[in-house]
Amino acid sequence: MMIEKGRISTGQMELLIIPTIISTAILSISSIDARLAGHDMWMTPILGSSAGFLTVYIVWKLHELYPGQTPIGYSQKLIGKVAGSLFGLLLILFFSHNTGIIIREYTGFIKSNVLLQTPSIVISLSLLLVAALAVRGGLEVIARTAVICTFLFLSTSIVLLLLIPEVELGNVLPTFENGFIPVLKGAFIHQSWFSEFFILAFIFPFLNNTKKGLKSGFRAILVVMFILCYVNFFVLTTIGVVAGDLYYPVYAIVKSISLAEFFENFEILITASWVLGNFVKIAMFLYAASLALAELFRINDYRVMVLPLSLFIFFFSYWDISNVVELVNYMGQIQPFYLISVQTVIPLFLLLIALLKKKRSDNN
């Protein structure tokens, strides 16, 4: 059963997936990194990206074995109707919950730094509504908006180059002060973000050139890794390990840009473009959740699911996390285990079962 009729190119897929990972990661990951990995934080994304490569490879293999199907479809074939449906339900709940947390992160940041007086309900609902409208338009619409949004979002990262006069390369030293373990800890935080590449499972079936999917997925991982390294490097070399005390280190370093007393106040530009990145991220997750929900309950049009699901997600964003302290603890302590188990470990088991089944049928 194919609910989505639109087709997108691999390039569009990359532009969709890059902000899906980065937009929340750049917000506070460097703070957790600075606390865990200290002077070695610049290299943590490199190690963390391994989870991304693994996830994309798993998802791609499953896609090859069951072309044109989403995880909802093939999980029922692999582990039976009941278990497969339960897995589908888990995925829908997971996507809703995760989207709720993304909206919570987004709202928390905007509320505490830019729109101090605006009620948070307005901030969350306005973005959610725009994302919901895009999702109702279908995958092609999301992909086309992503082309513009991602370009604007990523192009503002050039602003960090204005910090070059303040870069103190010595902050990188001493490398491996407390051995290799702190780097692994930092990388462990990163892998939770990289495991979000799992969402490609809902895009691979709709590529117009299905052969190039794996390569372009890997390319997207490299871009994400590069940008996270780039951001971490500037955070480390400009403010050093004090970044661990800040909730939003990237915002803080952008705020401190002052070149020739003229190039200043870039934080507003960065925030505005960051909202675009978040739009893509929320639209992507909302799309996956709606598509999965429609497919699981065999509804022909997933569009009817979008608005009710958005409301559900909106409630999730208030139920779960009560303040920024809890949010940072969640990202540092719960999310790394939670995200990777749903998005990498379970699909890995599905792949193993699929390979065993294939072997058996080949033998027969």
Binding site: S112, N113, V114, L115, L116, Q117, T118, P119, V122, S126, G170, L173, P174, E177, I239, G240, V241, V242, D245, A252, K255, S256, S258
Partner: protein, 392 residues
């Protein structure tokens, strides 16, 4: 679909009008500088200099220069946060911190410790990390009350002075990073009121000027360097570009004055057999700007001799300043701790917790290499008969 569009359009009326976070200029009190003092009962007082926009627009009709374009208001409280809340009750408009790049601490408060105040400034989303911090010789509030003859307000005058590299330049971010880092010491510029020699100007019509350096151990001010010592300190941090350096050649009673044009400073930490050494090397190029002696500067040997003299003068003074920091104030404002930490992470771990005791024991070696680049447009002293000039 049409209904949907209609709903969206109606919704945008609510959202696009700006709603909650809209501030018009006439609702804001723009703060240009802030001064923090401690008053009786250990209460904190914040004084802010607020810009009067009207004073600028009425310029054509001839504004009264004695009133200035700013006014000062204050708030008092047990903590800085409470003082700021109190301040807001005295001002009809909403305080706007976005333009405030100057924070001045009174000397008394600096000696008691500024950590609690720094916490407020770093935690608050509005003050910027690039704001400059100062310590005021007298009451900090006094600095805001000055009406500069040239600039619009005293905060602006102070900010421009800071850019000239006369004193040390420390920002809010530096203080946060350094006090949380290895060195645990900071240095802030000290400012005082410039006493104007013109009798026609009233006492208030002056500007704050830099008058040395306040050195801190942790967050408490432990001492001060005067203007001359500050200029030597600046040599240790970066090459002083607009200072002068004068030498008295052997057998002469007059001086030759030189101005450094470029230079390079380098610290090299080194640990051998439990003795911690820090080698400081300075390379400097200078131009001669005044020659009071009768020596002819066309002579290569004379110039060579000058180079040696500069090296001697610099070495002597830098050693003295270094000793003062190390033995008298025990403040590591030159980041020795950080430099040792980077090169010797294992050894650093052992002394990390009693670095204050270890720091004065570090042996400092100073190497200076000076070069004279130009002697100005002339060689021999000017306006002197040729045969008075000493060739050697």
């Amino acid at each position: 679909m049409r209904k949907m569009i209609l709903v969206m359009l109606l919704l945008s009326i609510v959202l696009l009008s700006g709603c909650w976070d809209r501030y018009e200029l006439q609702d804001l009190a723009i703060i240009t500088a802030a001064a923090i003092d401690v008053v009786e009962d250990e209460q904190i007082r914040i004084s802010v200099q607020i810009f009067i926009p009207r004073a600028i627009t009425s310029g054509e009709t001839g504004e009264d220069p004695s009133t200035g374009s700013t006014f000062v208001r204050e708030g008092v409280g047990k903590s800085l946060a409470q003082a700021v809340a109190d301040l807001q009750t005295n001002i009809p408009r909403k305080l706007f911190w976005g333009q405030c790049r100057i924070f001045i601490f009174g000397k008394e408060l600096a000696e008691m410790g500024i950590q609690k105040e720094i916490d407020f400034l770093v935690r608050h989303p509005s003050p910027r990390g690039i704001s400059n911090l100062y310590v005021s010789q007298e009451e900090a509030k006094r600095m805001l009350e000055l009406i500069p003859p040239l600039e619009r307000y005293s905060g602006e005058a102070l900010r421009k002075l800071s850019q000239q590299e006369i004193g040390i330049d420390t920002t809010l971010k530096d203080v946060d990073v350094k006090l949380a880092g290895d060195s645990q010491s900071i240095a802030l510029p000290i400012i005082k009121v410039l006493v104007s020699p013109e009798e026609s100007r009233q006492g208030n019509q002056s500007i704050p000027v830099i008058d040395g350096t306040a050195v801190f151990q942790r967050d408490k001010m432990v001492g001060a360097l005067n203007m001359e010592e500050t200029s030597w300190l600046l040599w240790l941090i970066r090459t002083l570009k607009n200072g002068t350096i004068s030498v008295m050649p052997k057998g002469n009673e007059e001086e030759v004055v030189m101005m450094p044009i470029s230079g390079n400073v380098k610290f090299n930490p080194h640990i051998s057999k439990n003795t911690w050494n820090m080698t400081f090397s300075l390379e400097v190029e200078a131009n001669v700007i005044q020659n009071e002696t009768l020596l002819n500067l066309h002579n290569e040997n004379t110039v060579k001799q000058f180079e040696k003299e500069i090296e001697k003068v610099l070495k002597e003074n830098l050693t003295q300043t270094m000793e003062k920091l190390q033995q008298e104030f025990h403040t590591d404002i030159l980041d020795f701790g950080k430099r040792f930490h980077r090169k010797y992470p294992d050894e650093w771990k052992k002394v990390k917790n009693n670095w204050v005791e270890k720091y004065p024991e570090v042996n400092v070696t100073i190497h200076v290499n000076a070069k004279i680049n130009k002697t100005g447009d002339i060689g021999p002293p000017a306006a002197i008969p040729r045969d008075w000039v000493e060739e050697q």
